[in-house]
């Protein structure tokens, strides 16, 4: 934001008006608060300027940025002193959001001995694979061509002599219903479910035409062994624990309060 843009910020106007209203009420404190202009602050403002303008701030520009920062800082402190932050649900939501981000990024738990295994067992549905198929196929535009090819193959002809060119892959591994229907069109998985493994069968109809299918393996719905997916489980575990930690954090905070519900 250009420094001049600050003058158009409604929040600042609001604060300025608030300041004026309360000025009669204010007293010069005995111990004046300190505002320290650190080198780190200068660097931060200079970097921000470079990010926004692509230019390196001159000494005069930097002084102007610091000047603006200082004005903003005293208004900010005064607004806090007057409790204006407590009146505003945007500030409220932003603070809650920031706390949430901090809680999430700072509480990445490391599982104790056996904890990952327990988490895996408790959420076993998430690590259970649906029925999947590993298969080869031959593609034909016409049903009769597919049927004729199947008859020839059953008579002993080599399968690789048949099939028409296609952008589809000649073989697919470990494909479940969602994948199959996206690749071949709706209803393909239901037709594969009627086939058995180990021979050329079909024709099976797709959005493209007709297919002779050789299923190598029907992989039944199965639980994925923990060994191959420890990293994934760890991520899920950490995410779940983070959410739980946030809930617990809120619960703990709630314990500090007495909640009074007034009768309506």
């Amino acid at each position: 934001m250009a420094p001049g843009g600050l003058l158009k910020q409604p929040l600042l106007w609001f604060l300025a008006i608030g300041l004026t209203l309360f000025i009669a009420d204010s007293r010069i404190p005995e111990n004046r608060d300190e505002i320290v202009i650190t080198p780190a602050l200068r660097d931060r403002l200079a970097t921000l300027w470079t990010t926004q303008t692509g230019l390196v701030a001159t000494e005069a520009e930097l002084n102007s940025l610091l000047d603006n920062w200082l004005k903003e800082e005293v208004l900010y402190r005064e607004a806090l002193r007057l409790g204006l932050d407590r009146e505003d649900s945007i500030v409220r939501r932003r603070l809650v959001q920031k706390l949430g981000f901090i809680a999430e990024s700072e509480t990445i738990p490391t599982p104790e001995q056996g904890e990952l295994e327990t988490f895996y067992r408790e959420n076993i549905d998430d690590y259970t694979l649906p029925v999947r198929y590993s298969f080869r196929h031959l593609y034909f535009q016409q049903r009769t061509a597919a049927e004729n090819a199947l008859a020839r193959i059953n008579e002993g002809a080599a399968a690789q002599e048949f099939g028409e060119p296609t952008m589809l892959n000649p073989a697919y591994a470990y494909r479940g219903a969602l994948d199959l229907n996206a690749t071949f069109g709706a209803g393909f998985d239901g037709q594969l479910a009627t086939l058995t493994a180990g021979s050329w069968q079909g024709p099976v109809q797709s959005g493209f035409g007709f297919h002779l299918v050789w299923i190598d393996t029907i992989h039944p719905s199965e639980v994925t062994p923990i060994e191959g997916i420890r990293q994934q489980i760890l991520q899920d575990f950490q995410r779940a624990r983070q959410l739980r930690a946030r809930d617990a954090y809120v619960e703990n905070l709630l314990d500090e309060y007495t909640i009074v519900v007034e009768p309506t």
Binding site: L11, I90, R93, P165, N169
Partner: protein, 631 residues
């Protein structure tokens, strides 16, 4: 947890595959292979299960508005970026008008792109406890009614935003909060190998005449800038590029994708810069560094070409949206369409040695419902309660004619389109792989269908039907988005290949569109190169009619006509080694009912006679550019 079962299972499947390859005891019987074996000894980093050196097609939407966009919120959209990503993975969202929106086939990649200016602000105005709800222009925001009240309030706020006082409500705290949530949602849903998300936003600038200069900015990584650069920072896109260059220097890589050039009143692809000065190589370099892609199709129409610009292209009159965006003002076609921009770019290349318009294409939806556009037979349009019903969008007559005797609502929503998907050829479904495909322009756009298109050009191409075609074509030529240097004595070869959407209509024909510069004149020609029935007439370059028809009374289509795939090798019959040229592929489906016809059938009325009853869904590839050998 049920909704999580697919992605988690798929990931687990990925892990199984990699575990299998480490563990000889359980090698899968059918290793997944592409149409041809991958080049051997290609050292690659850690790969996901679907990795293919010959690249897979992935479909996505890079233009999505949620509750954080000022207009989407007032149109009734309360779904968040999180909700939108869940939708893209196969979940459902309830439209503000009450019906469910769900994809038949989930998307592979997705980017939420809310408007940067006033991001999150209108939503806060509707919160009666917020400070900003007390601003005079926020009056009534927490009690918005139906589409008429919403429309009036929208116009009022829009006018205020455009006034000198507009900045009063561009609250940085609100914007920061929304932006951080958008980044967090994108990172949370990114799932390498299964589903890719991109951090992004829309830069919503307009010219003083309301010509549309909008761009979507897409980031490569998982870190975004502090706040997005908006039209309130500058309405000059060149300033956006400066900002992007600055970010890039600090390690934040992004690209900008212009959209709705059709509604730019000729300003998206001008022959001058924003200040009216002639273009130069510095402008061209900066533009191409930041804008390698353009959105060619979305709900607000297509931007391939216009009948006035391509009078000899019989398919040019397709889903034309004739107005400047969000106005009733006519939009000048000259300077607003992709093909003409390619031609002007060639001309500049030939005459001045630079080309600012050497971009690839994608499609996307521009949904303001935090979802997608829907399909022709299940159309959701895109502005919430404003166009939620057939009557509101002008496809079905009003209950009673207007006092002026109009039978239909006077609206521009009837020029909109159930359109727009982005396609890429990438090794795997990860951010880096897909983003790199954007950068090399190995991309294509569709009118919403999931047609796939391959396109290669070169001097060492294999036969089109070679079983090892893909590997040899990558080795001996360039894919879409690439450059070819012409040889003086021979014409390069091209291979184009398109496959239908397995859940859509059959294919009608495959075309190559050529543009070139001849004695300073920009020229174009459309060549049919493969037909679903018969062969191409060498004189007219046209396929015969394949006989596919649509029954407008029930949207039935002729069965058994059309192809599942079309593939052809092609050489330019008019090749001239001294000419600059570009070539891109257009694939056409058989005709099907337009959404407005589906709306009418369901309502039991005749289709609106002023609207096209049918459309031919299509795919456009990014071009291959040909540069003369001797300059």
């Amino acid at each position: 947890m049920a909704k999580l079962s697919y992605p988690v299972s798929a990931l687990a499947c990925a892990a199984v595959l990699s575990a299998c390859s480490d563990n000889t005891s359980s090698v899968p019987e059918t290793p997944e292979v592409s149409a041809a074996p991958a080049p051997a000894a290609e050292a690659a980093p850690a790969q996901t299960a679907g990795y293919s050196a010959l690249r897979n097609a992935y479909f996505g939407d890079l233009h999505v508005h949620t509750m954080y966009s000022f207009d989407a919120f007032i149109f009734g959209t309360t779904s968040s970026p999180d909700d939108a990503y869940e939708f893209a993975k196969g979940g459902s969202i309830t439209h503000p008008a009450g019906f469910e929106m769900q994809l038949q086939v989930p998307l592979d990649f997705y980017g939420v792109t809310d408007h940067a200016f006033y991001i999150g602000v209108l939503r806060e105005m509707a919160n009666p406890n917020s400070e900003i709800s007390r601003h005079p222009v926020a009056a009534g925001m927490s009690t918005l009614g139906g589409s008429v009240e919403r429309g009036a309030k929208f116009q009022e706020i829009l006018a205020f935003m455009r006034s000198e006082d507009g900045l009063e409500i561009n609250d940085p705290v609100i914007r920061k909060s929304a932006w951080d949530d958008i980044i967090a949602a994108a990172n949370r849903h990114n799932d390498p190998g299964n589903f890719t998300t991109f951090i992004g936003y829309e830069y919503t600038a307009s010219a003083p005449d309301r010509g549309n200069l909008h761009r979507n900015v897409i980031f490569r990584g998982d870190v975004g800038p502090e706040l997005p650069f908006s039209r309130l920072d500058s309405s000059n896109p060149e300033d956006l590029w400066n900002w992007m260059d600055g970010n890039r220097a600090q390690g934040i890589e992004s690209l900008a994708i212009p959209h709705n050039s059709n509604g730019s009143n000729g300003r998206m692809f001008m022959l001058t810069d924003n200040a009216g000065r002639p273009l130069d190589d510095a402008y061209a370099n900066q533009r191409m560094r930041n804008e390698p892609l353009v959105e060619i199709s979305q709900v607000k129409g297509t931007s391939d070409t216009h009948p006035a610009l391509s009078p000899n292209d019989e398919w040019a009159d397709f889903e034309i949206m004739p107005l400047r965006v969000a106005t009733n003002l006519y939009s000048e076609p000259n300077g607003g369409y992709v093909r003409q921009a390619y031609l002007n770019g060639l001309k500049m290349q030939a005459e001045e040695g630079f080309n600012p318009y050497k971009f690839g294409v994608i499609g996307s939806s521009d949904t303001h419902n935090a979802t997608y556009a829907g399909e022709e037979h299940d159309y959701w349009s895109k502005v919430g309660l404003n166009d939620a019903t057939p009557v509101l969008r002008g496809s079905v007559p009003l209950a009673e004619p207007t006092p002026e005797g109009e039978l239909y609502r006077d609206t521009y929503y009837d020029t909109w389109s159930a359109a727009g998907l982005a396609g890429v050829w990438a090794e795997e479904n990860t951010r880096s792989s897909i983003y790199d495909a954007f950068r090399r322009k190995e991309t294509f756009g569709t009118s919403g269908t999931r047609m796939k298109v391959r396109f290669f050009g070169g001097y060492e191409l294999p036969a089109a039907d070679d079983p090892d075609m893909l590997a040899q074509a990558y080795a001996g030529g360039v894919p879409m988005g690439g450059d070819l240097l012409a040889e003086t004595d021979r014409s390069p070869g091209f291979i184009a290949w398109v496959a239908k959407d397995p859940n859509g209509a059959n294919l009608e024909r495959l075309q190559i569109i050529k543009g070139w510069v001849d004695d300073g004149e920009a020229r174009e020609e459309v060549y049919d190169i493969a037909c679903s029935v018969g062969t191409v007439d060498p004189e007219t370059h046209r396929c015969p009619d394949n006989g596919a028809r649509v029954d407008i009374s029930d949207c039935g289509i002729t069965q058994g006509v059309g192809a599942a795939e079309l593939r052809a090798a092609w050489q330019d019959p008019d090749f001239d080694p001294d000419q600059h040229a570009f070539y891109y592929v257009r694939g056409l489906e058989n005709p099907t009912c337009r959404w407005s016809t589906w709306d009418a059938i369901r309502a039991g009325v005749d289709p609106h006679p002023d609207l096209q009853p049918t459309i031919q869904e299509r795919v456009w590839s990014s071009p291959i550019w040909l540069t003369p050998a001797q300059l």
